[in-house]
Amino acid sequence: MEPVIPIIILALPLTMFLVLGLFGHKMSHPLAGVLGTAGMGVTMVLAYITAFTYFFSGNPEFIDADAHTRLQSIIFNVDWLAFTDSLVLRLGFLLDPISALLLVVITTISFMVHLYSNGYMRDHHGVWEKGFQRFYAFLSLFSFSMLGLVVATNIFQMYIFWELVGASSYLLIGFYYTKPSAVSASKKAFIVTRFADLGFLLGILVLSAYTGTFNFTDFTSTEVAEGVYRVSEGTAEGIRAMIQNSAAPMFMGASVLTWALVLIFMGGMGKSAMMPLHIWLPDAMEGPTPVSALIHAATMVVAGVYLVARLFPLYLMEEAALNIIVVVGALTALYAAMVACTQIDIKRVLAFSTISQIAFMMVSLGVARPEFHHGLGYMASMFHLFTHAMFKALLFLCAGALIHAIGSNDYTAMHGLRKHMPITHITFLIGCLAIAGIIPFAGFFSKDEILTATMGHSMLWYVWMSLVAGLTAFYMFRLYYLIFWWKEHKVPEGHHAPHDQPWTMTLPLVILAVVSCFAGFVPFGNLVTWNGEEMFDSVSFFTNFKALDWSVASISLAVAVVAILIATAMYKKENPLPAKMKNALPALWRWCHHRFYWDELYMFITHKIIFGCISKPIAWFDRHIVDGTMDGIAYVVQRSSYAIRSLQSGNIQRYVWVYLIGALLLGAVTAICLM
């Protein structure tokens, strides 16, 4: 494939960022909006072309038609920084099933958000939000970074863009920079993910120090032609041998490879908000809602999943690392689902739901094994990534519409909005049905496959994850009813009633709702698998439907329906049931409501321990002990100079005395010596 289109895909958002960032303040608001949106639109079209070419052209660069195996293809790879002869940091474009998939997801959601923001970043009177151009510049920067991340050809390139998405996320969360809560949320997000990135970096260092390479293809694949690779465990076995043959394969009881993979996964935990590094994501909702939809629901937060998927053949070699992923994922999923049941802020509910859903993807990756249905978990994870991006972005954009209309994040200010905002109502409902896993919406298929894969791995985690799936349905419908039903909405005197939004906002909602309805039918098994092999011989619209394992599907469907029914009973009409339940389990409710006090714990660690017990004493030590020593030396010198100063009194008669005594002594000594 000619590198022109891929280069434009990366260059266009960057150019948009530079243009809007440097000259945006001189542009009119609509121009900046149109420019940004159009740029993203072009990028989206190009990404579609690329993905379409990759998946369906049958080009031998991309697919080994005989073996029905999709290949990895390096479109271009430019040396950027040569650390040593072998450790070279390159910037390139790797096209393979998951990067093609992510290209589509990112550009789609990003375009929707660009479009949507044209309406959202303006109040009811059409007054533009201050810094509107800046907003589009940052969005473009983010899109650039995220695209660079997913097409990375080597782990260091990924790290570079990983940092860049972190920074653009920081800028976007802190978009309302005069709001202290937004500032502290952005700071928190950056620092927590930075901490995770430390692990990522160390993992990269360990891995590269042993293997002498950064390239993904060297880790996971064998080369079949110039620039074309095929994922296989064989290469990975070679790496394992390399590591085991080196002199120190073990470190603190675990193999070096395990260490490297766990450290890299730590980076993924940070970005993907896995417990215990999840605390930044709920706060990140301080950013504008479109940003939450783009970054904190659909794209950046799945980077961790993407990272694990990218290195999946390596992870396959270390059972321990995969088990850690499963445990972390499962705990996070349950935790986030429980917390989501008690939150008041609708964006926070969605944030916790995002955490929970990403944890689903992680678990799915962790349980994936090649011997079970060609690595079904891997496929399911990517599938869920795709569908989740669509319906979660939809939900966030709906939430944005609600917030835009009401001016509050709180569902207590909403209640019974279904009549005022019908389009939002319908699209939100579709999103809820999709995430709850109701057939035939998108979430049903992907979640069902995750559960199937989990069951193939272990019954315990299957039951666990099914429970979480039920909780998911429950809290989403709780939210849905509390926003749109519960009791009638009363419009305060002097306010006009909330209403649906302009077309720029409605259109993305409708598009995403449609996608959420039908995304489940995409035959993912033939497009994205861990080693590129196609799962099905032939595909049709109903491939996924036919491939369902009904024993799992029916159970999960039943769980979802029951959960929805409970939610309906509790929240459809104003009634005392929720309060009763809250009183029945006060401790649990309190812990959930306060998110299990993780924030307080972190506050304690950062403020009390790091600032109070490390930084302050160090600063004190520096000022008083280290600097005090230096000052002390100066003081001693000064004092002794004062002490001997009187010798140099300027009294010439005293000098003569000293001279005389000296001369006499000298004379006496001479005399004695000569005697």
Partner: protein
């Protein structure tokens, strides 16, 4: 009796010791200067004496004395100018009072 070198050196030594005594004990700056002259003078004598008794053929000692006298004259003139100046400022020529420029 032969008047040897020793006979010249002894008075010169006494003169020098007088100068030392005066320099140490006096407070009047002019008196200190006078003591200084005494010491200088005794040294001059020594130069001349050594020249005459030890190296009668040469004139180094004499010239040294000659130059010493010239320098002493210059030094005295300057010292007195300073003393008068100090006196003009402080109305005193006690050496203990002249410590404004110390440190």
């Amino acid at each position: 009796m032969e008047i040897t070198m020793l006979y010249y050196l002894i008075p010169s030594l006494i003169m020098f010791c007088c100068g030392v005594y005066g320099f140490i004990t006096r407070r009047n700056m002019i008196a200190i200067l006078i003591s200084l002259e005494l010491m200088l003078n005794s040294v001059d004598i020594n130069f001349a004496v050594f020249n005459r008794f030890l190296f009668p053929g040469e004139l180094e000692g004499m010239f040294f004395t000659l130059f010493a006298i010239g320098i002493a004259a210059a030094e005295t003139a300057l010292a007195i100018a300073i003393i008068i100046n100090v006196f003009r400022v402080s109305e005193k020529i006690d050496v203990r009072d002249v410590n404004k420029m110390k440190f």
